[in-house]
């Protein structure tokens, strides 16, 4: 019975994933190798050229997406880690309250949040208008429709996905271990670097996984906050799928994106010093 435990535990999720993820994915992989169009139908031609064509045409957007995703993830790590640290060690019994407050804005529709940001950040609005009136900013200054706005939007929208896993890992660290480390290393920074940080790595890895990946694939922030040169790969896939009805190209691009992300995560896991990338969190 004991031996069966993991299989029984995993079974419901396996079934869910098998039916609703694997089967559609396999069908999509098949579509990615077909040629045709919406009117005349599609036929399987094993055209791997779909992949090379897509990469050839859209590599700027793909690279750009990786860049934006990477920048946003780095920002989230820097911004979010201290928050996770404080809540895990210093917030006492009110931890869950703080976590809840962090997530609360996200229970309100992202459309409303984005519209509100558009309002707050508008060129001559409540924030910049005032600063410009005081002469603190040049009249031409704008944040909306820039790369900064897109990366900022990504950072804002995925921050809780970074904070929560790091918190979860840190919270388990016994404060006495931290104290002992501080005695040992004399400075708090030393204790942090040598003891706390390594212990939090599973959380950091989980956080990076849950932010870098969706941020790179995200089309919404670029669509709403970007300018003329901020199109990301997610937007391209959306256009190919919905406007051009080019299902093979959209599928090929999706798989390419997933493959690239997998490589990225693999490299990251290596850098973290873990052996089996797919088991990184389990150490």
């Amino acid at each position: 019975m004991r031996r069966l435990t993991p299989y029984l535990l995993a079974l419901p999720s396996w079934m869910w994933l098998a039916i609703f993820l694997v089967v559609p994915m396999a069908a999509m992989a098949s579509v990615s190798l077909q040629t045709g169009n919406a009117i005349d139908g599609y036929a399987m031609t094993f055209s791997f050229s779909n992949y090379t064509d897509a990469l050839g045409r859209y590599s700027p957007q793909l690279l750009r997406s990786l860049l934006y995703g990477g920048l946003a993830t780095a920002a989230m790590l820097v911004i979010g880690y201290p928050v996770a640290y404080w809540i895990a060690f210093k917030a006492g019994p009110r931890k869950s309250v703080y976590l809840f407050l962090l997530l609360l804005p996200f229970f309100v529709s992202f459309v409303l949040r984005t519209i509100s940001w558009n309002f707050l950040l508008s060129d001559n609005g409540i924030l910049f208008g005032t600063l410009k009136a005081w002469g603190l900013l040049p009249a031409d200054f704008h944040v909306l429709a820039t790369t900064f706005a897109v990366v900022g939007g990504l950072t804002y929208n995925f921050l809780p996905f970074m904070i929560l896993p790091i918190y979860v890992a840190l919270e388990r660290v016994d404060p006495r271990v931290v104290e002992a480390a501080q005695d040992l290393y004399a400075t708090r920074m030393g204790a942090f670097r040598r003891v706390v940080l390594p212990l939090s790595l599973p959380g950091v890895f989980a956080g990076v996984l849950m932010t870098f990946v969706p941020a790179t694939a995200d089309p919404i922030n670029a669509q709403i906050l970007g300018g003329t040169s901020n199109t990301m790969i997610g937007n391209i896939i959306q256009t190919e799928y919905l406007t051009n009805l080019n299902y093979p190209a959209a599928s090929a691009l999706s798989f390419t994106l997933m493959a690239v992300l997998l490589v990225g995560i693999f490299v990251y896991a290596r850098a973290l010093g873990t052996d089996n990338v797919l088991e990184a969190a389990a150490r």
Binding site: A26, G36, D40, P60, N124, L242
Partner: protein, 400 residues
Amino acid sequence: MNPPPPHLPRREAFRIAGFSAAGLALAACGVQGQKAAPPKADAVQDFWAKQTKHGKVVFANWPEYMPEDKAPLEKFKEATGISYEYKEVIQENADFFGKADPVLRAGQPLGYDIVVMTNGIQLQHMIELGYAVPLDHTRLPNFGANAGQKYKERSYDPGSKYTIPYTSGVTGIAYNTKYVDEDITSIESLFDPKYKGRVGMMSDAQEIGNFGMFALGIDPEKSTEADWKKAGEKLKAQRDAGIVRKYYDQSYIDAVAKGDIWLSMAWSGDIFQRQLAGEPVKFVVPEEGGTIWTDNMLIPKGAANPLDALMLMDYLYQPAVAAELDEFIQYVTPVPAVQELLREKAKTAKGEDKKALEDMVDSPLMFPTEADYVKLRTYTTLTNQQQQVFNPIFQSITQA
């Protein structure tokens, strides 16, 4: 228990390969083409002869296209005894088609009796793929009697075989009067370097393509591939010169109203509403031309209650009903008589209502003049093959 095999990854690789092979086999047949030959006239007659009234109709539409109290639909119910279900489920043509295509392709009904789609690529696909039920005009007397001539002759649906208009709008130029001193009249203003970084263009290939062509004096309804390429070059030059701040889908209106951009391609109804709210925006149809688009009603294949749908579609063409609808929607109605009716209503109204009604009646945004109509063109009608050429030209500019 045996010790785990030394190369666990290889086992997994085989397993994954196994899944993929199964999937490939599954879909190896590919997807059948669905191109439908237009049905013969007899077939259409036979179809409609067999239909009976079922007493129910399911109407799928865009949000904010029906007054909250659903008065027109309620009156329809009283007049005909047909009950309705009204669902605001259409937000984007592309999204809607993306959802409808797999369903209709599999021969299943969508669950709606009437759907509303803008003329364009997706509507064209609906027609070409045989997803739209041909209409019986003998049962559309109100449409015949009350629809404006331009709405009966639409280049994308000759003879109104499959669709009749619900509401229309005009794409022109909007500008913020606080930041723009001059009166804008020409489309060249959108390309003027003095507005560098302050111009908004639309990201939709058909919208921006039309404007590129207008700027070169080309008629989109008669354009060729060479024309599209030229328009593409003009738009590319505009982009490279840094004149465009962003290619918008529909959010230009806030940007213009706030002054983030000073001029933009814009839809008439959006501007009208901002003017009602007192914001400093003006709308103009450029001399070189503007685009008129129409949201059209059609009956999807497999609809459960086609006759009831047809009756409702025709009911909405009664001038009094059309007037009530247009007063709420504030876009361009396909029934010209509405203008007079609203004018009459304004005479007996009071206070704010009176002012609002008068604004509507006088506004060329809701009731374009003849001079306006002369300048207006629809989107370029494209076959599937042509789309494969048209789209990349403009997408490479808006999505670079």
